[in-house]
């Protein structure tokens, strides 16, 4: 996350409070009275708004550099910003007041979205959780019914001699959303543990850290005992577990051990652990819950045969990331939630990020949060979202915040100018806002209808959602009978999922002509009529509605740069262009030549560009020296240093300024991962780690 400087700054709280009370007072006043009251309120607010305008309208460039800077973590006072803050310090203070307000609105909006997402995820898991609980209860009952052990039997060291099958360890393989990445499921197992605990089970959670080859079985057993018995246990002895289990009613409940990332565990340790527990399975009925993130045969790959045959496994499957994604999308964007929404381009970006890059819901939520935060930091009118967020209020009241300047801004919005709405139609504003609030509702219903129709094709809501946001789509054209005949000619929507669905629906309708069922035909006709009507009337993407900028986040570039930092490429390009960050006067006039005043590391890196994969340290150092020390004063230097180790020795004797600087710089390059240390075979050479291809890549980007 890259919070913008304006939003993140701490604020004086007194002004916020006073404004809050004002806003609260205004909420009770109806629309007609609104503007007169506003006028009075305006005079004191104009000043603040002007400031925020300057911040956002006049200097978008300075703002972007500020965000980039915080990402680079290279702190340097930008003269531009410094100058500005001198002149407009007073105004900025007022602007900060507004940004506090926006931050507050952001927090309410985001907390609402966040809560919705959490609820959706919890719902998606609850079924599996109760399934696991039932399974534990049933198996535990069956164990208990097979006969109870006496105390002396239960705690003694030798095994209870009974059926060989009694060594079986009940195991649940929980397929964690079948995702390669574990991130989404860390909390799931936390929740599962809490859920089972609330049902009375003794729950311990072990992770792959406990099953490391270094600590062996003792390590995980100790972790187990510390969670069950008491935190000070330091002897990994199972008999402690057995004695504890027999004490004070503990034996009325099953013991559950959750291992959340089975694939990452050391196979031998886990096998040993399973064998050990199975020896004691009669005395302490243990239920093992193993999270498996790839396929259900994953334990087969890591466990030994002996351990495998002790497992009596049952499979539980959590919902897949795509399913969860659809559920989250539906709850956040298509059901009334916060009012916040994203544009077509942003949705496409988020979709491709999900599919191509990360594939975890966690990162999707993170993306959404960044988008939301940036929306609030970039769009002054976004404060009105607060009123969209609360269902019971009319959006018109939000216009109480519209000052003269924000009004001007509002009517400069592209969606407004495009629709030829001018200041003269100002009185219509509440109507527009009301439309804006109501609009997403029928639209989302149509989207859900299409999704419902597409379910037979295993269509994802994510795809439907992305397409329906497209402001340039012509859905009716897809649906018209003629488009089916010459569908190939329609190039623009060739890969449209919606077109596919609509075509299928239409086909269905036409096919039923030949059939005998008149009723069915009549019904499909009706359906197509309804769909046609819906598409014509309601299929208006949010970007076509005036004032949509209040709700809709559009700046896909900002989101991309915030999300994909590309730190390696950044480091390399910044090293080559260090003067543009340092903003020093001495280097500003340099063209392609290297100046001694430049930063040592960046000189060395620029020199390294001239070499191939391996760099001769001697040559490198010599060229570095010629840049630092002009030719005439070079007579002073006498010894040539070849390898770095030699240099180190020399440093103790008589430190030569360029040598020391070069050591420092080489070290920095090494830490940045750009070069690799000389190997034993070729002590005079360092290796460049960065790729040629990657270098070209970065240069193209710039």
């Amino acid at each position: 996350m890259a919070p913008s400087t304006t939003v993140a700054d701490p604020q004086p709280s007194s002004t916020t409070d006073s404004f809050d009370s004002n806003a609260a007072a205004e909420n009770d006043i109806r629309i007609p009275k609104l503007f007169s009251l506003c006028a009075a309120f305006d005079t004191c607010l104009v000043f603040f708004v002007a400031a925020i305008f300057v911040l956002h309208k006049a200097s978008p460039g300075s703002k972007s550099t500020a965000t980039v800077k915080s990402k680079r973590r290279i702190e340097s006072p930008s003269p531009k910003i410094a100058k500005k803050s001198e002149i407009e310090s007073a105004e900025e203070e007022d602007g900060q007041f507004f940004s506090t307000l926006r931050l507050r609105v952001f927090e309410t909006v985001w907390s609402k979205i966040d809560k919705t997402i959490q609820d959706v995820l919890r719902d998606s898991n609850s079924k599996v959780f109760s399934g696991i609980r039932d399974w534990i209860c049933e198996s535990f009952e069956s164990i208990r019914s097979s006969g109870a052990l006496s105390l002396s039997e239960a705690v003694r060291s030798y095994p209870v001699l009974s059926q060989p099958s009694s060594k079986q360890l009940f195991t649940a393989l929980v397929l964690t959303s079948k995702n390669l990445e574990m991130v989404d499921d860390l909390l799931t197992f936390e929740d599962l543990g809490l859920h089972l605990k609330s049902q009375g089970c003794h729950v311990a959670k072990l992770s792959s850290m406990d099953f490391s080859a270094k600590n062996g079985v003792g390590g995980c057993l100790r972790g187990l005992l510390r969670q069950f018995v008491m935190p000070t246990v330091d002897v990994a002895d199972v008999t402690i577990l057995a004695s504890w289990y027999r004490e004070s009613g503990n034996h009325k409940n099953p013991v559950v051990i959750i291992v959340d990332d089975t694939e990452r565990c050391s196979g031998s340790v886990l096998s040993e652990f399973i064998l050990l527990l199975s020896e004691w399975a009669v005395k302490v009925p243990i239920f093992l819950i193993m999270g498996v993130s790839t396929a259900h045969d994953a334990p087969r790959k890591i466990l030994s045969a002996n351990a495998l045959q002790r497992l009596c496994a049952t499979k539980f499957t959590l919902s897949s990331p795509a399913e969860r994604m659809d559920a989250v999308l539906e709850a956040v964007f298509l059901k009334p939630c916060s009012g916040f929404t994203v544009s077509h381009k942003v949705a496409l970006f988020m979709r491709s990020y999900f599919l191509c890059q990360d594939g975890t819901l966690t990162s999707f939520v993170k993306t959404l949060k960044i988008a939301c935060l940036q929306h609030f930091s970039l769009e002054p009118l976004s404060i009105m979202l607060e009123h969209f967020c609360q269902d019971n209020q009319l959006p018109g009241e939000g216009t109480g915040l519209l000052t003269e300047a924000t009004m001007k801004h509002a009517f400069d919005l592209p969606s407004v100018t495009r629709n030829k709405i001018t200041r003269s139609t100002c009185e219509m504003l509440p109507q527009f806002l009301l439309d804006l609030q109501r609009m997403p509702n029928p639209w989302s219903i149509v989207v859900l209808c299409i999704y419902e129709a597409g379910k037979f094709d295993k269509l994802r809501l994510l795809d439907v959602f992305c397409e329906t946001l497209d402001p340039e789509a012509r859905y009716l054209k897809y649906f018209s009978p003629s488009s089916i005949l010459n569908s190939q000619s329609n190039v623009s929507g060739r890969n449209s999922v919606i077109r596919r669905i609509l075509r299928k629906l239409r086909k269905h309708a036409s096919r039923s002509n030949s059939k005998l069922e008149k009723e069915l035909k009549a019904m499909t006709d009706k359906i197509s009529a309804v769909i046609e009507f819906m598409l014509r009337e309601y299929m208006k993407p949010v970007e076509t509605v005036p004032f949509n900028e209040i709700l809709c986040f559009k700046n896909v570039d900002k989101l991309q740069s915030a999300l994909l930092g590309d730190p390696r490429g950044r480091i390399q390009s910044d090293l080559l262009e260090s003067h543009s960050i340092l903003n020093c006067l001495c280097c500003s006039q340099r063209g392609t030549t290297l100046l001694p005043s430049m930063h040592d590391t960046s000189i060395l890196y620029a020199l390294a560009q001239e070499h191939a994969d391996v760099i001769n340290l001697h040559d490198w150092y010599q060229s570095f020296k010629t840049i630092l020390i002009p030719r005439n004063s070079k007579a002073k230097s006498k010894s040539k240093t070849t390898s770095k180790s030699k240099k180190r020795k020399e440093r103790c004797e008589e430190p030569e300024p360029p040598a020391e600087a070069s050591i420092q710089a080489v070290m920095e390059l090494q830490i940045a991962g750009l070069i690799r240390m000389p190997s034993k075979r070729r002590p005079d050479f360092v290796q460049r780690v960065a790729f040629k291809q990657e270098d070209q890549f970065i240069r193209q980007d710039q």
């Binding site: 003694r156 095994p159 574990m182 064998l275 009596c312 990360d358």
Partner: protein
């Protein structure tokens, strides 16, 4: 709820104190109540339950007659010193059960410690001492051991003390059931596991020489091991323990074992007639057999309403034909894994069947878990880097994107057949090759760009595939590749395979099977086979 629990425990406690008052002088092991304030006595050192006769002992272990008699002979008559004994044999041949039941028959005091449960010398020593000192861990003593003991030398001293006190009590108490004797036996199970401990050989030597070091005839030692005694001997001047070998069960013996506790012996023996022979060829471990036979027998009985009938020939035949299709799959299971998703009831079995059929057909087609596109490309790149020799990379991934390397491949495959076979065998022996990270990333860059371009071409033909428009963007989205590499490593798809002795950098190795990588390639519609170097 909690109040109820408290109430119940209080009730239990009061009951228990009443009982324990009555039993305090002679604790009968068959105490049915869980007894929190249970004070162990010397009598607890014997095998809790009623002692059994020799006949009962022999009949309860079919095929173990000579071993039982050997063991009894080696342990010797009451109160006579015995040399250390080593019981060895394959897993699941009844070593532990026989040893314990022999002591139940003899009704002599013993101490049992398993090296599986006690996973370090300290725990092993302390567990032996705890039992000898009649110490039980509970919350009141903080689950601590009676004595802290880390070193073998300490153990010897503490053991001497504990033994003499135990022998003293044994001398003074009058046993109510006759043979109790004045000796204590030490049974150490799973001795072979000690080899895996750090300083394991030292502990092993100590254990073997314990008898001669201790010089106390009151202690008999019995070691139980999965490995034969030759493995341990190292000519260090201690008396070798006397070996007793437990061979694998024969088929007939297995039949007797499985018939022992069956309700309907005739039906079960008909079942065993069918099943036991093929299974015996795979494994003779009772444990493995019993798990798969139980589930198989359940299936065998499925068509029957009345489980008490004795089957005639006709019924047997019908039952067999019903069972036949399941046998082979179960055989495979033993070999590989028994952790098939089972629900325990018929519902689960149906699901199991479904998963079997799907494994053959559908699962080949599709990948059944989620991966991001770049992770998929990385997986393929790693697979290629492991499979192909590094020298071929340049020709495979040249600027033309490997489009014309079909000819090259053909040229390569025109080598003589023997050479090819040799190379193939070599490849099998070597397994997947290792590669540096740089090579992985380079291949990744190449195939990701080629994959994108070939995407477009195939699109024209099919016209139905999704995700084309977005993949163009994906090109400049390849930033956190290293993160993806690490998550692939976490999922065991790629493993770090030590460092190269020459360069000193970490090398990686792809662990995915060709099937999986083909599946992944298919989901991307990436022409993987075009890039694979076939010898």
């Amino acid at each position: 709820m909690s109040r109820l629990k408290k109430h119940m425990t209080r009730e239990e406690n009061s009951k228990v104190t009443r009982r324990s008052a009555r039993f305090s002088s002679s604790v009968t092991p068959d105490n049915p109540e869980p007894n929190p304030s249970h004070q162990p006595t010397v009598a607890d050192l014997t095998f809790g339950e009623e002692s059994i006769t020799l006949d009962a002992l022999l009949s309860s272990f079919p095929g173990r007659r000579s071993q039982i008699l050997d063991l009894i002979r080696l342990i010797g008559p009451l109160d006579s010193p015995a040399l250390p004994v080593m019981v060895y044999g394959d897993a699941s041949t009844g070593k532990t059960s026989v040893a314990l039941q022999v002591f139940r028959h003899l009704n002599r005091p013993f101490v049992y410690s398993s090296c599986r449960t006690c996973c370090s010398p300290r725990i092993l020593f302390e567990s032996i001492l705890n039992q000898l000192l009649l110490h039980s861990k509970c919350s009141s003593n903080g689950y601590a051991s009676a004595k802290r003991c880390d070193k073998p030398s300490d153990f010897v001293n503490l053991l001497k003390e504990a033994l003499s006190s135990v022998v003293e009590t044994l001398n003074s108490t009058k046993p109510e059931r006759k043979p109790m004797g004045k000796m204590v036996y030490l049974i150490v199970d799973h001795v072979d596991l000690i080899k895996e401990w750090d300083k394991g050989t030292m502990i092993l030597q100590f254990l073997f020489s314990l008898y001669s070091v201790l010089k106390m005839p009151q202690l008999g030692i019995i070691l139980i091991s999965g490995l034969p005694p030759d493995v341990y001997y190292s000519n260090v001047g201690y008396t070798d323990p006397l070996p007793v070998y437990f061979p694998e069960y024969s088929e007939e013996e297995l039949r007797q074992i499985f018939l022992k506790n069956q309700a309907n012996k005739k039906l079960y023996s008909a079942f065993l007639d069918v099943v036991l022979r093929p299974f015996c060829r795979v494994t003779r471990r009772v444990e493995e057999l019993s798990t798969s036979l139980t589930s198989l027998f359940r299936k065998y009985c499925e068509p029957l309403d009345d489980l008490t009938i004795s089957p005639n020939e006709d019924l047997k035949r019908r039952l067999y034909s019903n069972l036949k299709p399941h046998i082979t799959s179960c055989l495979n299971e033993i070999f590989r894994i028994s952790s098939r998703p089972l629900d325990g009831d018929s519902r689960g079995e149906r699901r199991q069947k479904a998963s079997y059929s799907s494994e053959k057909g559908e699962e080949l087609e599709m990948l059944d878990f989620h991966m991001s596109t770049s992770a998929k490309y990385l997986l393929i790149a790693a697979f290629l880097a492991s499979r192909n020799p590094a020298t071929l990379d340049a020709s495979m991934f040249d600027s033309t994107g490997g489009m014309d390397n079909r000819k090259r491949k053909r040229k390569a495959s025109e080598k003589s057949m023997e050479k090819k076979e040799m190379a193939e065998q070599e490849a099998v022996m070597k397994g997947p090759g290792s590669f540096p990270l740089e090579r992985l990333l380079a291949i990744f860059q190449c195939i990701a760009s080629v994959g994108d371009s070939s995407f477009g071409e195939e699109e024209d033909e099919e016209g139905e595939d999704e995700a084309t428009g977005y993949d163009k963007e994906s090109k400049n989205m390849m930033s956190d590749i290293l993160l993806q590499v690490s998550s692939l490593c976490d999922a065991n798809f790629i493993i770090k395979s030590g460092s190269c002795p020459l360069e000193g950098s970490i090398r990686y190795r792809s662990m995915v099977s060709e099937d999986l990588s083909l599946k992944v390639a298919r989901s991307l519609s990436f022409p993987l086979s075009k890039y694979l170097y076939r010898r």
